[in-house]
Amino acid sequence: MAQIFHRSTNVLAKVSIFGAVFILAGIGWAVGAFVRSPYVSGVGVAVQQPVPFSHKHHVADAGIDCRYCHTSVEQSSFAGIPPTKTCMNCHAQLWADAPMLEPVRESYRTGKPIEWVRVHKVADFVYFDHSIHVKKGMACVTCHGRVDQMPLTWRVNTLYMEWCLECHRNPERFVRPREQVFSMTWTPPADQAALGKKLVAEYKIQRLESCSVCHR
């Protein structure tokens, strides 16, 4: 009887079976990495806007407070997107004829709103409330990052459920004094652990992990 297979097939066969295990594991890992990659989560991807609005310029350079534009952040679930009027408050004088701002002026003239592209979006079935987070000492930067360093705004966190839970499970790691909520530059002290515990107690912060807190 003649050989059907060449000598090399022995190694080949063993390696392929042995390797299959690693290949499967590898695929699993790759999928996990992919869904958490910026390609899917959009983290770190600067979003093009009809008007190249720069938080960096307005916050860092001009030193405007978050609440000047995001007016309802303390009373409402929705932080508020400024109406064109708010832009025009300044830009009626400043850069009054900068071509870059034409869409703003046009919107103001025609009454047709500017359609900004959403940067921070959670799924439709997730109910997030800005007011209570701000009230409980959750800073803007904690979720939105250093917008004062963003020429164009991008997402710094995935906004995935696993990310939300990080804080909902141990708020003391992220909470800060209320008066620092709108500060871009406040950095947690060395004893954040101690401070966190203190604030959690003081602000009566609960570890809300029940589904209906966010999903209804």
């Binding site: 059907i4 297979f5 022995n10 066969a13 996990g32 958490r36 995935y160 459920m161 839970l165």
Partner: protein, 468 residues
């Protein structure tokens, strides 16, 4: 040495294999079915029918996925319909294979040899049919993978208190182990085919699957250990699978489901339906492929006996259900039982009693067991009966439970039927492909039960090398 055919007192006269066969002739007779270039017309006919039915399944699935479960007959209160009935039915059928291979092996029942390969294959196909339904019956099947534990971005896990998750693990484990068991059994025969095949492509094909098996004594030694261990593991597994399936019902609080007798009674039912299906399939194939020498009346008789025995256990289960309903004094249970017998679905209940209890009593008679067509018919009836049993358990328990205001009825739609019939098509299609490309009887195990060709003068007839 286990190489002698069973003889002597207590053993029925009909042997496991008609005398006169040698290692060579057995090998040739079985492998030629696969290796010969010509395929019997009957095979094509059967395959075409099966394949046709399979199309119904595809249509049904497509329709369901596109338009939603609303195209089925299910509703509130009857949230589970044909899908679950079929699931339990197929899983039950899927029990015979492993049982024959594993349990009968442990019990040293040599007659298993000529049917175990076939039964195992049947098991695999039945289980894959069953596996369809849990996925199909989901409202959002595309999220089916949520049932498996993996580190998701949602940071949540499957809820493993749920019998449905137990199902996922039990069925997938059972499928995997059955596959391994079946494949391990195939390896030596694949080597045989490799060495007997003429065409190079076949040599390579079977050769790769045979993993270079060469029948070394050491290999055989480990091989048998592994096979025995597998059998030892598969036995509790096969019992656990239908137990877990029965938990789907037993752990709920629905009257008619919430019963401690379910696990044993489901397992018995599974074996019952499994053997019925094996008979239903072996009888025609044995006839078509002239395998009467290997699958003898002895086999049919033994299987019939197993059916009779398990059938009686199932009957006991039915009785106990009634008894407990009465003895519990639970008004909901009592009402359920009454409604099951006399309610709108009463006829189904009595039909199932006929199919599963009355008709099989014929098997007490040796004459019936000797009558192959009749045997075939009885097996068929039991298959139907077992399907009806699941229908009765699922539907009649759900449609009238606690609050009369919420009672309802269940009527299957054409989609339900298409998927049910189609799953049978899938099953048969796979079966036909199997008997065409793989030996449906374990060749090497057949050799083990043949007499050894003593090189002494009085050589057994047909012994000696096939002339070459």
């Amino acid at each position: 040495m286990a190489t002698h055919p069973e003889t002597g007192p207590g053993m029925p006269s009909t042997p496991i294999v008609t005398p006169g066969y040698t290692y060579a002739s057995v090998t040739d007779k079985i492998s030629v079915i696969v290796l010969s270039g010509t395929t019997p017309l009957s095979w094509f006919a059967g395959f075409l029918i099966a394949f046709g039915l399979l199309q119904a399944l595809l249509l049904g699935i497509g329709w369901t996925v596109v338009f939603g479960l609303g195209t089925w007959g299910i509703n509130i209160p009857v949230g589970w319909g044909f899908a679950i009935v079929n699931f339990v039915w197929w899983i039950g059928i899927g029990h015979a294979g492993t049982l024959i291979s594993a349990i009968l092996l442990l019990l040293r029942q040599q007659w298993r040899t000529s049917i175990n390969r076939f039964a195992e294959a049947m098991t695999l196909f039945a289980v894959s049919c069953a596996g369809l339904f849990p996925l199909l019956h989901m409202g959002r099947p595309w999220f089916g993978y949520w049932m498996f534990p993996y580190p998701s971005t949602m940071a949540i896990w499957p809820q493993t208190r749920s019998p449905l998750v137990w199902d996922v693990f039990a069925v997938s484990t059972y499928a995997t182990v059955s596959l391994l068991f079946w494949y391990v059994g195939l390896i030596p025969d694949l080597a045989t085919l490799r060495d007997r095949a003429k065409a190079r492509a076949l040599k390579i094909g079977y050769g790769m699957l045979a993993l270079g098996w060469r029948g070394s004594a050491q290999h055989w030694h480990r091989y048998e250990t592994a096979y025995l261990l597998l059998a030892g593991l598969a036995t509790p597994l096969v019992l656990s699978v239908h137990t877990v399936v029965s938990f789907d019902f037993a752990t709920s609080l629905v009257p008619g489901w919430h019963t401690t007798i379910f696990p044993p009674y489901f397992v018995a039912g599974a074996i019952y339906s499994g053997f019925a299906m094996v008979l239903t399939l072996t009888i025609p194939i044995r006839w078509l492929y002239r395998l009467d020498d290997f699958i003898t009346m002895r086999h049919l008789r033994n299987m019939a006996n197993v059916m009779l025995a398990t059938g009686l256990m199932v009957a006991y289960g039915y009785l106990m259900e009634i008894f407990f309903a009465w003895y519990s004094g639970n008004p909901f249970e009592m009402f359920m039982m009454l409604n099951r017998m006399t309610g709108p679905y009463g006829p189904f209940y009595w039909a199932l009693i006929c199919c599963n209890i009355l008709v099989p009593q014929l098997l007490w008679s040796e004459r019936v067991k000797a009558n192959v067509p009749l045997l075939f018919l009885i097996a068929l009836v039991v298959n139907v009966g077992m399907w009806l049993e699941r229908f009765v358990i699922v539907i009649t328990s759900l449609h009238r439970d606690f609050l009369p205001s919420a009672w309802g009825m269940y009527y299957p739609t054409w989609v339900d039927w298409a998927i049910f019939v189609g799953s049978i098509g899938l099953f048969l299609t796979m079966l036909f492909l199997f008997i065409r490309v793989l030996p449906m009887i374990s060749i090497f195990e057949m050799r083990t039960i043949l007499p050894s060709p003593k090189p002494r003068p009085a050589a057994a007839p047909g012994a000696g090398p096939a002339g070459d």
